[in-house]
């Protein structure tokens, strides 16, 4: 396609229509030619039959009365309107009788059927022609047919015909033929109808272009329109779905699913930047203020040392928070990881319980474990351990305000087609007026926990880890206390 191709040809509709049009036209032309030649052959054969009948009649007349009778019969028949062609000539080709005034030279030379239609002039017509020609051309060249110009002249001054040439016993030549005017008309009709058909097809092509372009491809346009809008920043926008359930709908639905995923990721990213802004700026400000306060005023070396130690502690906490945020984002973004393997969940849980056992004992909390198994999931041992240790850590912290003897129970069992890892404490639990699902949101810390150390990201991280493992994290009332249930899919794929 060159650059000069109009813009309209750049649409799929126009190209498709043009292609169809071309194909149909080629087929139609081929069909018409085939039919035409077939019909022409049939007509010729019919003509030849007629001539044969004629010849048989003439032969009968000749047998009956010889040449004079034949000449008379020919004379008679020649005069009838729409008669066949008759000609009797002497051995030299001089026309003696019949209704043919002149004919293409050489036709009478060979006996039998003429191999191809020849050009002739009927008697009487030639007179008119000559009279007309005489005014411009004296020598009568017009009446002498020229083989090359035959076709061009046939329409105006002569006709084409086929004939049979017979040699009579006395060396005279007889020609019986039939005008081909009929097949000529037939061809003209075919030509006209072909033109008509091509015209109709052109119209059809335009209609196809119109319907495909206006109706079907318009939907593609609406899809590109919508995607342009979305690219422009409106991530909440969706591609139109008509409900027809066709390819366009399926395409739109898939793209919409993709958009939803992008929107989620984008939302996560936005949340991360918001969180960084809110929750990292606060300790950073504190850090800066502390340094500033230490610089102003008089202090001794011990003061400076204390300030610097405080700075380091504060930055370490900042780094921890930052790492947790990064990790949550990466987990939520899908964390394309090759580090997932088959993990012995029971062993992983036992390890964490063992890690926390001395901590619980020191805090005066009884840590009990009921671990069934072995259960194997696909995942990452470290991530599972990190999630569980966050939860166990919380449980130990919050069980200390229990009214009874503080206890934390860790259990791993198969239930409802899932592998359920539950950590139950007997502390105060989450107050009823708090939306439990909110607790797993980032940086959400309940009022009374604000005094406890921690970034407020532990549960969010655990939740992200569970999502990564294709499972879920639920917070349920523990009666008393809180029950955190991590459900892993039985055959964990993600």
């Amino acid at each position: 396609m060159s650059l000069s191709v109009p813009a309209i040809m750049k649409t799929t509709a126009a190209r498709l229509s043009a292609l169809y049009l071309l194909l149909f036209a080629i087929c139609a032309v081929a069909l018409v030619f085939y039919m035409t030649s077939l019909s022409a052959r049939m007509l010729t054969a019919q003509t030849q039959d007629t001539i044969n009948d004629e010849v048989a009649g003439l032969a009968h007349a000749y047998q009956r009365g010889g040449l004079p009778v034949l000449a008379r019969v020919v004379e008679q028949r020649s005069r009838q309107p729409g008669a066949n062609l008759y000609l009797i000539a002497d051995a030299n080709g001089q026309i003696l009788t019949g209704n043919v005034q002149s004919l293409e030279p050489g036709v009478l030379d060979t006996e039998g059927w003429t191999e191809r239609p020849f050009y002739y002039q009927r008697f009487g017509e030639g007179e008119l022609e000559r009279q007309r020609a005489q005014s411009s051309d004296q020598n009568g060249e017009q009446s002498t047919p020229q083989p090359n110009g035959a076709d061009a002249q046939s329409g105006e001054k002569g006709h084409n015909a086929i004939a049979i040439v017979l040699r009579l016993p006395n060396q005279m030549i007889m020609l019986v033929g039939r005008d081909l005017g009929e097949p000529e008309r037939f061809r003209a009709v075919i030509k006209r109808s072909l033109m008509l058909a091509l015209g109709m097809m052109g119209l059809g092509g335009l209609l196809i272009w119109f319907f495909v372009g206006q109706a079907a491809l318009k939907r593609i346009d609406s899809v590109s329109e919508a995607s342009r809008r979305i690219m422009g920043g409106d991530l909440s926008g969706r591609l139109p779905v008509t409900g027809a359930g066709d390819e366009f709908d399926r395409l739109s639905e898939n793209l919409n699913t993709m958009l939803a995923r992008i929107a989620t990721l984008n939302e996560g990213l936005k949340q991360v930047s918001d969180n960084i802004a809110h929750d990292l700026k606060t300790p950073l400000t504190r850090l800066r203020n502390r340094a500033e306060a230490t610089l102003s005023g008089k202090h001794n070396t011990a003061d400076y040392r204390r300030a610097l130690e405080g700075t380091i502690t504060e930055s370490d906490q900042l780094i921890k928070t930052f790492n947790a945020i990064l990790m949550i984002s990466r987990l939520e973004a899908g964390y394309s990881s090759e580090s997932t393997t088959r993990v012995d969940l029971s062993a992983a849980v036992r390890d964490v319980v063992e890690l926390y056992e001395p901590v619980a004992e020191e805090a005066g909390v009884s840590l009990q474990a009921n671990i069934e198994g072995p259960f194997t999931v696909v995942g990452n041992r470290e991530l599972v351990a990190q999630a569980l240790s966050n939860i166990v850590d919380n449980a130990i912290k919050y069980s200390t305000d229990s009214t009874a003897a503080p206890a934390v129970r860790v259990s791993l069992e198969r239930a409802d087609g899932h592998i359920k890892l539950a950590v139950v404490d007997n502390g105060q639990g989450i107050p009823d007026d708090v939306d439990r699902s909110r607790v797993t949101e980032r940086f959400v810390r309940l009022e009374k926990s604000r005094s406890q150390p921690g970034s407020g990201l532990g549960l969010s991280l655990a939740k992200a880890i569970m999502t990564f493992h294709g499972g879920r994290l639920d917070l349920l009332p523990g009666n008393p206390g809180l029950s955190v249930v991590m459900s892993f899919p039985e055959r964990g794929e993600h």
């Binding site: 990466r330 964390y335 926390y356 240790s389």
Partner: protein, 242 residues
């Protein structure tokens, strides 16, 4: 760090604890700080500002430990390590990186690194790890019995004795003590313990390691007059007699 040699039989080789360290780090300020801090700890550090220079230095010089930044101009850290390893250089390498995910650590170690530390880090952590990596100090892998003062650990029979008295340890406590004894006289950080004894690379919210260490300390020090497991303020622990 140098006072440790006298107490351990394995330190009989002429080694005064001072190391020759190569630091390949493109951040000039960080590199200078490391050089100064290593010098204060009694070591000699050379600095290369990019991967190519670092590779040439490492290939020519005889270093005890190399500290290599992962992301550098001209040639990245992993390619430097892989290049050195393919040339038969076995000098222990600690990789410094801002990338701290599990995958990144695995790639780093697979490229030929011996340890992996995520930025930002505490220098005390880096120093402890570098000293543990030092190829001249650690020849204990093959030993079956570790001895520190009157404390004795048999790796084959899984038994621990102090002054000929049997001490019963849980399996995890045994592994903890084993690691501490393997690196006796060296500072071992909490993170190192968590990584090497528990195989966890995350940071638990509460300092669970302290509780485990103090429990172990109770078992190996209670009833004996001399402390042997020392807490190094701001850094970690050190097992050392006397």
């Amino acid at each position: 760090m140098m006072q440790m040699s006298a107490t351990k039989p394995s330190d009989e080789i002429a080694y005064n604890g001072s190391m020759k360290i190569l630091v390949i780090e493109d951040d000039r300020e960080a590199a200078d700080y490391l050089q100064k801090a290593f010098a204060e700890a009694g070591h000699t550090a050379h600095v290369a500002g990019d991967g190519e220079t670092g590779f040439a230095l490492a290939d020519a010089g005889d270093y005890d430990v190399m500290v290599i930044d992962r992301m550098m101009p001209r040639r990245d850290g992993l390619s430097v390590i892989a290049g050195l390893r393919s040339r038969g250089n076995t000098t222990p390498v600690l990789i410094l990186s801002a990338l701290g995910e599990v995958d990144d650590r695995v790639t780093g170690l697979r490229a030929g690194g011996d340890d992996y530390l995520t930025k930002p880090y505490a220098f005390s952590e880096l120093l402890a790890r570098v000293e543990v990596l030092n190829r001249r100090a650690s020849a204990k892998e093959a030993e079956t019995i570790y001895r520190v003062g009157d404390l004795e650990l048999d790796r084959l029979s899984h038994s621990v004795r102090r002054a000929a008295r049997e001490i019963t340890l849980q399996p995890r406590e045994f592994r903890l003590l084993e690691y501490l004894m393997r690196h006796a006289g060296q500072v071992v950080t909490r993170t190192m313990l968590l990584e090497n004894v528990w195989d966890y690379h995350f940071d638990p919210q509460t300092n669970v390691i302290d509780v485990h260490v103090s429990r172990l300390r109770g078992k190996i020090e209670k009833g004996f007059d001399k402390p042997i497991l020392h807490t190094i303020r701001g850094a970690g622990y050190m097992l050392k007699s006397g």
